[in-house]
Symmetry: C2
Subunit: 196 residues, 2 copies
């Protein structure tokens, strides 16, 4: 399908050069298509970028559903979720290759996309937690509230790390630091630090 | 003392109008002083602002020391810390009255100030946690590592909330939302959500 080919080419270009350095001409050339035809599918570069992101989000949600239905403890599932969520964030950062400030400016473009994604993510994490309560692995509580708090904590840690980097380079070392930190915080959230 | 009078006047002006809207002329007039004399004490408005912030930080650290040495459980002390830390953040936001983006741009000015403050804050929170371990209230662990993680989580939650507001108005309702969220997250960090 034409649209898929365009999205694949665009994803590769964005991942290599970053959002702002890619032109519609280059993407049209990659898929051997006139610029006018490309604009028929995607009226602006922003639209194209949004579709690439939406695609990545769908893939992440699919992974999350798979995690939900695997064997294993709820702790393991939430840990897996944290890892996959960070990979998804890394993909997003790589596709955009924008500074934290530029990203904040670009953000309004993604408001709807982001809302929808966040809602699905919240729903799935709530389901995993709810399942954990039913199986007696987690304490009684409000799964949706707990999911919200965990998501906010993780979001905050990502934002924090991202706001600290000066250049646009969110490299593997930083990514690993952030992953370790998230998993350590997750341990605390799951087991607490107080003596029982 | 002259310097104290200037700092008091500046604090009031900044808190009312925000950093960018205050002029050195106005502050000089407030303390009945020539502009040249004011510049003798504080060569730039940034210097003056930095001193006001340093003052607020000293007051916060003093409060924190008091919390460390009060009666009460470690849980109560950490909760009190979270409340006071958020008040300190609120003061800072009010003095600057800058958007999240403008604040990020202004940030390099405060690098040294911030490093020093963070180090003292970390030291005090580590001491409180260490004390909790010695008293048998907290599980064995690395107090400094735990303090770092708690500080990063709280910082992330502040950043997250702050980055979500569009205008410069970090009002009391937002402040309360953030406080409730932080205290709920703290509960999770202290007690965990897993069945023991």
């Amino acid at each position: 399908m034409k649209e898929h080919k365009i999205l694949d080419a665009a994803r590769k270009r964005f991942a290599y050069y970053g959002f702002s350095k890619v032109t519609m001409d280059e993407i049209a050339a990659d898929v051997g298509m006139g610029k006018a035809s490309l604009y028929y599918y995607f009226p602006t570069k922003e639209d194209l970028f949004k579709s690439v992101i939406a695609d990545e989000q769908d893939q992440f949600i699919t992974k999350l559903k798979r995690i939900q239905h695997t064997e294993g403890t709820v702790t393991e599932k939430i840990q897996q979720y944290v890892r996959e969520r960070l990979n998804h964030f890394k993909t997003f950062v790589n596709l955009a290759k924008l500074s934290f400030q530029a990203m904040l400016q670009l953000k309004p473009l993604f408001t709807d996309l982001h809302k929808n994604f966040s809602a699905r993510e919240h729903e799935l994490l709530s389901a995993i937690i709810s399942d954990g309560i039913n199986r007696g692995e987690l304490k009684q509580g409000q799964p949706e509230k707990t999911a919200t708090l965990i998501l906010h904590v993780l979001h905050g840690l990502r934002l924090r790390k991202y706001s600290l980097i000066k250049d646009l380079h969110f490299d593997d070392a930083l990514h690993e630091q952030l992953r370790d930190e998230m998993l350590q915080v997750l341990d605390m959230l799951l087991d607490g630090i107080c003596v029982d």
